[in-house]
């Protein structure tokens, strides 16, 4: 996959994920092209387009257009399933997701996407796993100094609780700037 874009019926961008390095100018141009192409399509036409050397798969969910660009040897029908899976994940997380959810919680939408896709490929095919990981990460943000409510049912052996408590206590008091200075200037 090359990129994934979400935009509204008016062409306002709600999410952009690029899987290859592209300049800012290129990105803006691609966004413009995509919005024009997709929004111009007839309502009951097929969900695939050819654009330059890429296949564009788009699908409309309520007021949002999901637009995915894949290379020529990839399976378009499966790409439709990928889009659908992402929507399901968002739906499960936000509960009856709508465009406003994605506008106000765009960073969460990104986090979910990053648990589902990586580097242009699918990393997890199980809905439940992705949701569990997101929930666990969210919990990690919430947990402060105590590690009591750290039960997360995941099938891995590492103990989040202990490590979490340890690093919160160790670093809470230390000047972060000093450490930052050390880290920033030693490259290799």
């Amino acid at each position: 996959m090359r990129f994934l874009l979400l935009f509204s019926r008016q062409g306002k961008l709600r999410l952009q994920k690029w899987f290859t390095p592209i300049t800012e100018r290129e990105k803006k141009k691609i966004i413009r092209d995509m919005t024009t192409l997709v929004l111009a399509r007839q309502p009951r036409s097929c969900n695939f387009l050819q654009w330059k050397d890429l296949k564009i798969i788009y699908k409309r969910y309520a007021s949002l257009y999901f637009c995915l660009a894949v290379e020529n040897q990839e399976n378009e029908l499966l790409a439709l399933e990928v889009i659908h899976r992402y929507v399901e994940l968002l739906d499960k997380y936000f509960g009856n997701v709508c465009e406003l959810d994605i506008i106000f919680n765009f960073e969460k939408a990104y986090f979910i996407l990053d648990e589902f896709l990586m580097g242009g490929e699918i990393q997890e095919t199980s809905k439940q796993m992705v949701n569990r990981c997101i929930e666990a990460s969210d919990m990690l943000q919430e947990v402060r100094c105590t590690g009591t409510n750290a039960h997360m049912d995941l099938n891995h052996t590492r103990s989040i609780v202990i490590s979490h408590v340890v690093f919160i206590c160790l670093f809470a008091g230390v000047g972060i700037l000093k450490r930052l200075g050390f880290w920033c200037f030693t490259k290799q």
Partner: protein, 804 residues
């Protein structure tokens, strides 16, 4: 300093802006606040500020000043900070900024973090936007994580490895050991990403591909389990278990089975199973079937399986779902080359798709229809395609018209049908045809001699109807110019001849000249046509008048033509009939051939001289190569004889008149001149020598120097035959060492008559830049008394004056 506003607040505020200007103002204010907050190195709110910045970046505003802040967030210990920091890095940074390298150390530390989610963040960021330097530095860490037992990390590490390999292909070897037991995982996430990793490796390296072929049985087993296993809630999608993994495995199987009999053999069963057992009611099932079909077509599958695949595609074509029809058409297009007959069975369905409302489907159907046209179905298919051409959107017309022309050219059942088809295209999609079709059509019409009358009549009638479509008008005016006499005489056999007078024809052509609809090129065509009619019609005065009017036209092209034609009337009237004669049949040589000829049409080119050279007599290049071997590896180009073309019948005056000649004419002129040059013997006292004397064949060399270039020695060979029988098919070849250059002109004849009754002469020109002693190897072949004779000889006895 009050706390910076929350992200939600900002979003809400910005959304209340009613105009772009208002929004920009709000954003600028907030950016200023954020910038001052960054300057104060405020740790507590850095995360919030960067999040706001990312939002503004998504709206399209610059956010580069936040890049360093993202790095600070990544280095922070708070998970929230890290999350936003890494997100910011992925959105704002890329390998073009030097700043991104500062992340390397942070990522390295985070890859070894005790919390798996932090490790996950680091892997994700590296796998999405890691540059080649970062990848090189961190590949070792990724490889370590690839071997961990934690499946959450393992799957991420696998995709990260894929990214590393894409960026730095040389590091692929490094990941090989870790792939050993990747496929024995139970976790689908790890399985999926492992298959992706294996696919990437196999696509990039044929060695890896060979190495991983042994995994085919294992992959087949996994796929089988997926299909046969019962309902699995975790991976189920509409009744199918983990379609993503199935498709990925099928893709890897495709790569592994391609070109390899054993692997393909091993997969046949499972592919047949998938193809027959998969549910097709939902998109998911069809996605798997589609991938299966692609795999079957690519590997060396048995024919039964291939037929099954094409039938699946045929079923897809009848599916209600547009996406599936589109996908079927695309795949059929890919397979039509290899399995032509099988695809032909579905021709009628494909042709029906031409009438579909969807633009994407129509395009694919059109491409596929053209691919399916053959000698048997040409009439039917063309009917459908022409109907499509009539009714389709303008974006298709150009491609469709070109396709029709190509197909008609290849498979036309008769000349009349061909011309009718072309006429139909020109009248329906006339303005959309490509520019090069006009010359091609003209060439086609010229070659169908018996159809001239019919063609010109139809074109004339079309012109009467409509003069707006330029290609049609151009072809029509050219034809009327050429065959106007046939039009007037009413000779048409194919259909009812029309009664037309000369004046009517000239009216039409003049109408084209003055009409606003005609392009300059079209006007050129019609003026030339009028001129040509001066030899075919009797109303020459009218034509003269028209031509002289345009002698002062503003259009330079028209003016030039008119002036030249005027000159033709006045000074060269004796040459006019010859010049304006009928065009000869043009053979389609290379793709450039017809175009060249037609471009000179406007210049009333003489019909006699053609810019073509008949193939050289005698020495084909292959024989020359033998000679090269003889000279022990000195690669000397043996130049085959060049042909002097027949001189133009009209003589030198013609060359003057038609100033700007086509390439052929100028070449011909060069050869004429060259011939004169070499024939002029300027003997400078070099004695002749006998180069060869054996079996009755004697070859003498006589020398002269080419005046302009003293380094060029011109040698004329004289071959004479003292035996009683003629030597026929006489071929003389020569080769010289590398330091010389040789040119052989054509011989006077191929037959050396017996008993010294005549000689065969041939001119050799040798360029001797370095003034080296001249030596030559010659090869002679001829037929004498019924048997072929071949001989080689070395000529070393050149007189010293010949090369000094």
């Amino acid at each position: 300093m009050p706390a910076p506003i929350r992200l939600r607040e900002l979003i809400r505020t910005i959304r209340t802006a009613r105009t772009q200007a208002e929004e920009r103002e709000m954003i600028q204010k907030e950016c200023a606040a954020i910038r001052s907050s960054f300057r104060e190195e405020d740790n507590t709110y850095r995360c919030r500020n960067v999040a706001k910045l990312l939002y503004m970046h998504m709206l399209g505003y610059p956010a580069h000043f936040g890049q360093l802040e993202c790095l600070k967030l990544i280095a922070s210990q708070k998970f929230t900070d890290k999350r936003i920091g890494y997100l910011g890095a992925m959105l704002l940074l890329d390998e073009r900024q030097d700043v991104h390298l500062l992340m390397t150390n942070c990522i390295k530390n985070d890859l070894n973090h005790s919390t798996q989610y932090v490790q996950g963040l680091a892997l994700c960021t590296l796998g999405c936007m890691g540059s080649s330097e970062m990848c090189r530095d961190l590949a070792g860490e990724v490889e370590k994580l690839l071997k961990t037992s934690n499946s959450y990390l393992r799957k991420k590490a696998a995709l990260c490895a894929v990214h590393v390999i894409r960026k730095v292909p040389e590091l692929m070897e490094m990941f090989l050991p870790a792939t050993k037991n990747l496929l024995s995982e139970k976790n689908h996430g790890v399985l999926h990403t492992s298959v992706v990793l294996l696919t990437e490796m196999c696509e990039r390296s044929p060695d890896m591909l060979a190495h991983f072929r042994k995994l085919v049985p294992q992959l087949v087993r996994i796929l089988k389990n997926l299909i046969m296993s019962g309902y699995s809630p975790e991976h189920d999608v509409s009744g199918i278990s983990d379609p993503f993994l199935q498709v990925r495995i099928l893709r890897l199987l495709r790569i592994l089975g391609k070109g390899d009999d054993d692997s393909s053999e091993a997969m046949n069963d499972i592919l047949a199973q998938v193809a027959t057992n998969t549910e097709t009611s939902k998109n998911v099932g069809n996605a798997i079937l589609y991938e299966t079909v692609l795999t079957i077509m690519d590997i060396k599958s048995e024919s039964g399986l291939r037929v099954l695949a094409i039938n699946i595609l045929g079923r897809f074509l009848l599916n209600n779902d547009k996406n599936i029809r589109y996908v079927a058409l695309t795949s059929l297009l890919k397979t039509v080359q290899t399995d032509h007959n099988a695809v032909q069975r579905h021709r009628s369905t494909i042709v029906d798709c031409l009438k579909d409302l969807d633009v994407s489907i129509k395009r694919r159907a059109m491409e596929l229809s053209f691919a399916l046209v053959n000698g048997n179905n040409i009439r039917g298919m063309m009917k459908e395609l022409l109907y499509f051409l009539d009714s389709c959107d303008p974006e298709f017309k150009a491609d469709c018209a070109s396709g029709v022309f190509l197909a008609a050219e290849k498979y036309a059942p008769s000349k009349r049908w061909h011309i009718d088809t072309i006429m139909r295209v020109l009248t329906t999609a006339g303005s959309y045809v490509r520019d090069d079709s006009v010359p091609n059509l003209i060439q086609l019409i010229t070659n169908s001699v018996e159809m001239h009358a019919y063609t010109v009549q139809r074109l004339y009638k079309a012109l009467l109807d409509d003069i707006s479509q330029q290609p049609l008008v151009q072809v029509a005016s050219w034809c009327i110019g050429e065959y106007g006499d046939l039009l007037i005489s009413g000779q048409c056999e194919e259909e009812e001849p029309i009664q037309v007078t000369e004046d009517e024809v000239l009216d039409v052509l003049e109408g084209l000249l003055v009409s606003n609809l005609s392009s300059p090129v079209t006007r050129g065509y019609s003026l030339t046509a009028i001129m040509k009619l001066s030899t075919r019609f009797s109303s020459v005065n009218r034509i003269k008048k028209v031509v002289s009017i345009y002698g002062s036209s503003i259009d330079v092209e028209l003016q030039q033509r008119a002036v030249e034609y005027n000159a033709l009337f006045k000074k060269y009237d004796h040459m006019r009939p010859a010049l304006l004669e009928r065009m000869p049949i043009m053979e389609k040589t290379a793709s450039n051939g017809p175009t060249e000829i037609v471009q000179t049409n406007g210049e009333a080119e003489p019909s006699v001289v053609e810019p073509k050279h008949p193939p050289p007599v005698g020495q084909p290049a292959s024989q020359g190569n033998d000679l090269l071997d003889l000279l022990g590896g000195n690669d000397v180009p043996v130049i085959p004889t060049t042909m002097p073309t027949k001189p133009a019948s009209a003589g030198g005056e013609l060359l003057d008149l038609l100033g700007d000649l086509s390439l052929g004419l100028s070449l011909m002129a060069f050869y004429l001149f060259d011939l004169f040059k070499t024939v002029n013997f300027l003997s400078i006292g070099i004695p002749p020598m006998t180069a060869y004397n054996k079996n009755g064949l004697k070859i003498d060399f006589t020398f002269e120097r080419a005046n302009p270039n003293p380094n060029v020695a011109v040698i004329t060979i004289h071959a004479s035959n003292s035996t009683e029988a003629d030597m026929t098919d006489f071929v003389f070849q020569a080769a010289v060492p590398k330091t010389f250059q040789l040119q052989l002109l054509s011989p006077s004849s191929n037959v050396v008559p017996a008993l010294n009754q005549g000689t065969v002469t041939q001119v050799i020109r040798v360029l001797n830049q370095q003034k080296q002693p001249l030596r030559m190897r010659i090869k002679l072949t001829y037929i004498h008394k019924g048997s072929a004779v071949q001989d080689l000889a070395e000529v070393n006895n050149f007189p010293s004056q010949s090369w000094q």
